[in-house]
């Protein structure tokens, strides 16, 4: 499976320049702070610091950039829990239970649970990668457009059954988001739905739309509240509760293990990975739980499922980048660029010829995830103080920061305008119990789903029998149908159990009244 001489060589690479490790702590802190700032993405943080690394040696440069990558990966969970603002698409599922926990005054616990699940999930994923990087690379290479399309549709369908009480409203919201995600010019060169607005040629700006749908719309609703957490005694910052939250996350080892496996494998799929893995893991956690109805209302296991998957999908994306030379997203593209400036080029040849370097990078990330647990404890303690700030200050301030963030993402007024339009739309959707997250994921995946469907059509020549030549796609579709079927069956079974319990209760009451 792996060569011990390569591992020994990896150790030599990492210990050759001990002073390079001084870059680890600043990298993690920069990543955490930037990841927690709305609108400042991991990509932007890494892009800002990329020029600095060009004057460094290879090892300190990579330690610094991967530390930013690791720190920002978790940093995005902090606003997701405290303000329902997912810094990245991979933190969407964290908001489902993290934010309700914060509203109940369990913000310390939620942040601790997220930190514990995130770091443990990332460590497990890197251990898995250490063992399985070569076979994963082979599988990812075989993923064609049909398989990518199937994975994306799986993610979309999950949303219907994930959030909210009404499956039809969830699916309608998802279908609408998916269609909005195809606005602009498609890969075949057709321009649709732009209304002649130039910035829409590239599609709806996703990050401002996401900030508007999930965060700004929620802030409008909070106008009539005094604090993020209403009860004064629940607003306390408590380091012990954060630590207890970390320990609590370890009480669900199966959830973490499943989340890490989903994150590592789904995260390895370029473009799709991180946006879907957190949703998949959340949905599986909910489906397998004895009390699925408690999810979305502040169940810590929801945070564990989402966080263990989104942090481990970073490991999956790293595997694809190293093994195939394909960046899964903006952040790994910057890492790839940083590698290239030091004459290191990822790809199948790299993994074969420089296995020691691949192991060194994996070990490095493993150590960073372990250190993040310590640094993150201090960071979340400071960050949790936001619940003590009166909402009358927080609401206009966060809206301003969101507008500035939206502008910085698009470098034009397209960002703030999109933010405003989607904040009003998000508020209306949430008022009538449409799951806003379904629109967000639809928007994120619309372009990708259309491209992959179009490629599948071109490759197959329009023949439906093409699907029989793709066992991978059949397997994904079979798992998708099985998973959806089990979800529907479990829901029906739970509903029947509730009805029986109600009938028994009313019989009991009637008998009591007779006596």
């Amino acid at each position: 499976m792996f060569d011990f001489s390569d591992i020994s060589s990896a150790y030599n690479i990492l210990t050759a320049n001990p002073s390079a490790w001084l870059m680890l702590l600043p990298g993690l802190i920069i990543g955490l702070v930037f990841g927690a700032l709305p609108g400042i993405s991991i990509t932007m943080a890494m892009a800002l610091f990329l020029p600095m690394t060009m004057y460094m040696d290879f090892l300190p440069a990579i330690i610094f950039l991967t530390a930013i990558y690791t720190g920002a990966g978790f940093g995005g969970s902090v606003p997701a829990i405290l303000m329902r603002i997912p810094g990245t698409s991979s933190a969407v599922a964290t908001t489902f239970d993290g934010y309700p926990m914060a509203q109940q005054g369990r913000h310390n616990e939620a942040l601790g649970v997220a930190l514990g699940a995130s770091t443990t999930g990332a460590m497990l994923a890197y251990i898995m990668l250490f063992i399985l990087i070569a076979p994963i690379a082979k599988v990812v290479l075989k993923m064609g457009p049909l398989e990518m399309f199937a994975v994306a549709i799986w993610g979309m369908l999950l949303l219907g059954s994930l959030a909210g009480k009404y499956v039809t409203r969830g699916l309608l919201a998802g279908a609408f988001g998916l269609l909005m995600g195809t606005i602009g010019m498609n890969t075949a060169g057709y321009i649709r739905g732009t209304m002649g607005v130039p910035f829409l040629f590239d599609g709806v700006p996703v990050i401002p739309a996401m900030m508007g749908l999930l965060a700004a719309s929620q802030l409008f609703n909070l106008v009539n509240s005094g604090f993020l957490v209403e009860e004064e005694e629940n607003r306390k910052m408590n380091f012990r509760t954060i630590v207890r939250g970390v320990r609590q996350s370890w009480e669900s080892p199966l959830v973490i293990l499943r989340g890490s496996a989903i994150g590592a494998f789904i995260g390895a799929i370029p473009g799709v990975g991180s946006s879907i893995s957190n949703l998949l893991s959340y949905s599986e956690t909910r489906r397998n739980d004895a009390d699925p109805d408690s999810f979305g209302k502040g169940n810590p296991k929801g945070v564990v499922g989402a966080e263990s998957a989104n942090s481990s999908s970073e490991g999956g994306a790293m595997a694809t980048m190293l093994a195939l030379g394909i960046p899964g997203g903006g952040a790994t593209a910057i890492l790839l660029a940083a590698f290239a400036t030091h004459n290191v080029v990822g790809g199948p040849q790299f993994i074969e010829q420089h296995t020691d370097m691949v192991y060194a990078i994996i070990i490095l990330n493993l150590l960073q995830a372990a250190l993040l647990l310590v640094v993150g404890l201090g960071f979340v303690f400071v960050a949790s103080s936001i619940v003590r700030v009166p909402l009358r200050y927080l609401i206009p301030s966060v809206l301003v920061v969101a507008a500035f963030g939206a502008y910085s993402v698009t470098n034009s007024m397209a960002g703030p305008m999109t933010l405003f339009v989607f904040s009003i739309f998000g508020w209306a959707l949430a008022r009538y119990e449409y799951p806003v997250a379904a629109v967000v994921v639809g928007l994120l995946l619309g372009g990708l789903v259309e491209t992959q469907l179009l490629r599948s059509y071109q490759v197959s020549g329009g023949e439906l029998s093409y699907i029989t030549e793709r066992p991978g796609a059949i397997l994904i579709i079979a798992i998708m149908i099985l998973s959806m079927g089990i979800t529907a069956w479990t829901k029906k079974k739970n509903a029947r159990k509730k009805l029986d319990a109600l009938a028994r209760q009313s019989n009991f009451d009637e008998q009591g009244a007779l006596h």
Binding site: L171, L179, R192, F420, W427
Partner: protein
């Protein structure tokens, strides 16, 4: 509340408007895409997607109407239970609408007034809408916050932003 064929029908007008807006937007998008080209490469996802969305809209549509017997009394509680809407008083709704409107004005004035001045004014108005009445806070917090945010973003982002003072 409307009366129809001896029944009382409670209509969730807001929900009806939101669902219909989605359906109309989808239909408009399909028409716009079809006017661009009728080739499969253009409509491969949009056409089936819109059909699915319209079917879902038709399934959701009955959820906007709640039918009661004519003699059944309709109290605010029955109404709330039927619509499952979170209750909001007119005053509370007015505050949400004012903040949303102020946010819209802020967004569209960013380039006209400059990011610093627009942020200053919006934070002041936002604080007022959210319930702040102490004038020293209204006078000092908004400019201080605008200064910090504009300066911070000027240092962080690699391109210039329009400002009035800074």
């Amino acid at each position: 509340m409307i009366h129809l064929a001896g029944r009382k029908v409670l209509v969730e007008w807001g929900h009806l408007a939101v669902a219909t807006l989605i359906a109309v937007t989808c239909l408009w998008y399909l028409q716009d895409a079809r006017s661009a080209s009728l080739r499969i490469a253009n409509l491969i996802l949009i056409q089936p997607g819109v059909i699915v969305a319209i079917i879902l809209y038709l399934i959701v549509l009955p959820q906007c109407f709640h039918v009661f017997k004519e003699e059944e009394p309709i109290t605010p509680k029955t109404e709330e239970e039927a619509t499952k809407e979170s209750p909001m008083t007119p005053a509370e709704f007015l505050r949400v609408a004012s903040l949303a409107a102020a946010f819209g004005v802020f967004v569209f004035s960013l380039e006209r007034f400059g990011f610093d001045l627009a942020a200053w004014l919006f934070v002041a108005v936002g604080l007022f809408i959210c319930g702040e009445r102490r004038w020293p806070v209204l006078a000092f917090f908004p400019p201080a916050f605008a200064l910090i945010v504009v300066y911070g973003y000027q240092q962080l982002i690699p391109y210039p932003i329009e400002t009035f003072f800074l």
